[in-house]
Amino acid sequence: MLRTHPRLRAVLLRCAQAIPVVVGVVVISFVLTRALPGDPAVYFAGVMADEASIQETRVAMGLDKPLPQQFLIYVGELMRGDLGQSLTSGRAVATDLANRLPASLELTLTALLLACAIAIPLGVLAATRPGTWVDHLCRVIVTAGVSLPTFFTGIVLIYVFYYLLGIAPSPLGRLDFIYLEPEHVTGFYLIDAAIAGDWETWWGAAKQLILPAGTLALFTLAPVARMTRAAMLTALSSDFIRTARAAGLSRSRVLYGYAFRNALLPVVTTLGMVFSFALGANVLVEKVFAWPGIGSYAVEALVVSDYAAVQGFVLAMALLFVLLNLVIDLLYTAIDPRIGFDSK
């Protein structure tokens, strides 16, 4: 079956390639948990601990065992979904992260959709009209976009739209307190409110979302627009486009049927890098807008030195990123007709 379905084989091969990366991520996050300043046992035993209780903590945490064995224990705990206890909330870190993940995902995905919706048409326009104002606008946005610190953009947007114009709600969380949280189905407020048919809450959540998502979108827009423009220019100057034009195909058919489909491939590849930036910038945006996602959870944990929570967050983000990269590559396989016939 694999022999007859080259595309299926490519998909399976790509999934298998993710395994060593996951192993590497787990090893690095293990190293990070064991590299705590000083003796972790002293830290986790608490301030009031004496020699005996430190020793007790050390044995309880398995820190007296040799490192390879500690690593196996760590992997075993991960398999059971145990990321340790958060010192501040008193709950399991995994539970905390799972509760807060939908908020972060809703923010990041909305921002990325917004960024792609603006950047891809902008890049195409800039490539088809080089030297015009669209092209210059694209260039300015691209350079400014990567230079703007996300936390700064967020603050400026708050000042303009909340303080000066008064059209944005106060930048505190996902929903104003006058609304009730929609019933939990997916954890995405927009989707949950739409399922419940509660459009007033939907609008409330959307108003709350638009500024942080816009901030994040401004940051992620730049690489996508830049890549779209470059890829579109390459595609437009290639031989098959010349042939298509010579054959008398209509302008829009050449542009969207042939050039755009080919230009989309490198754009999809850059999405992986864009996700890396977006997930990092997400942390800053969540702090600015008091967004109750996993980023602000990690920042709060960092401030009070709640290490288990921070390490759990880093590992969760890395696994999420590996998964996203996998999805992007599979998407690539799906839209590129050439892959699967002569791939490695």
Binding site: L36, P37, L148, P149, Y159, Y163, R229, A298, V314
Partner: protein, 295 residues
């Protein structure tokens, strides 16, 4: 640099071609010239900032708290009466030092690792590639947060964390540049005339990687500044009352909803200008080094 004039004269004839090229590129792209100007300004602020600013960046004055920008205080004053302009200018040195130190560290470590992997190949190459893949498998800012959390919350660790997340870019670049020249004619000739592997690698092959590396350094500096400022924005590394752009924006953010915009906007603006300068400089350098890669 002190004995520059004498050799410059003899090298002039040889160099004039590339110098004319440089002038040509700069004239065609005045933005690069602007970037060089801004760069000089930033260096000036970093070197002489503390001695030219009108106020002590740490001096508090409760009577003049939260004043909007005026002739006396160009960027206004903060919640305890410190002059924002002085703080912003003085902060240049710290912000630039952090990013320059981080980029220098990743340049050196990345070059060594990449050159070894690219020249000798084999299992060294495989191990390095796996290791770099693993670093790149993390969202980089998040990894930096994790590293600082693990190593301890100090400025040095901010530098190490920023260096580690930048290192893969250099290592990959050098590895590729060294690898394609490993069996080139000039490298073999150098080897045959009795040079050791190490000498061929360091003196004959590696210098070829320097031009693209310089572009990478410039683009990377902007990114390193953003990262370091981002880390201090969430409360890592630099501690108040030290003037630093990220932490000043973070402190100013508390006052933005009540309308005191100057506390956060000016340090943020300066941060943006610095990053913008290095990005423009990187693009300009790339035009000079490799005109084909213009986008």
């Amino acid at each position: 640099m002190t004995d520059m004039p004498a050799p410059a004269k003899s090298a002039n004839a040889r160099q004039s071609g590339s110098f004319e090229h440089l002038v040509y590129v700069l004239r065609a792209n005045p933005v690069t010239l602007l970037a060089f100007g801004l760069f000089a300004f930033l260096i000036f602020c970093a070197l002489f900032g503390p001695s030219v600013v009108p106020y002590d960046p740490l001096e508090t004055n409760a009577a003049k708290a939260l004043q909007p920008p005026s002739m006396e205080h160009w960027f206004g004053t903060d919640q305890i009466g410190r002059d924002v302009f002085s703080r912003v200018i003085v902060a240049t040195r710290l912000d630039l030092s952090i990013s320059v130190a981080a980029v220098a560290l990743s340049f050196v470590v990345g070059s060594i690792l990449g050159a070894i992997a690219g020249y000798w190949g084999g299992w060294l190459d495989i191990i390095l590639n796996r290791f770099l893949d693993t670093i790149m498998a993390f969202p980089l800012f998040v990894l930096a947060m994790g590293i600082v959390a693990a190593l301890g919350n100090t400025i040095e660790n901010i530098i190490y964390a920023t260096a580690i997340i930048n290192m893969p870019f250099y290592a990959r670049l050098v590895r590729a540049e060294v690898n394609i020249r490993r069996d080139a004619g000039f490298a073999r000739a150098a080897k045959l005339s009795g040079n050791s592997d190490l000498r061929v690698l360091a003196l004959h092959i590696f210098p070829n990687a320097l031009p693209p590396m310089m572009v990478q350094v410039s683009l990377n500096l902007g990114w390193a500044i953003l990262n370091a400022a981002g880390l201090s924005f969430i409360g890592l590394g630099v501690r108040p009352p030290t003037p630093e752009w990220g932490i000043m924006v973070a402190e100013g953010a508390n006052f933005i909803v009540s309308g005191e915009w100057w506390l956060a906007v000016f340090p943020g603006l300066w941060l943006m200008i610095a990053v913008f300068t290095f990005n423009l400089l990187g693009d300009g350098l790339r035009d000079i080094v490799d005109p084909r890669k213009r986008t």
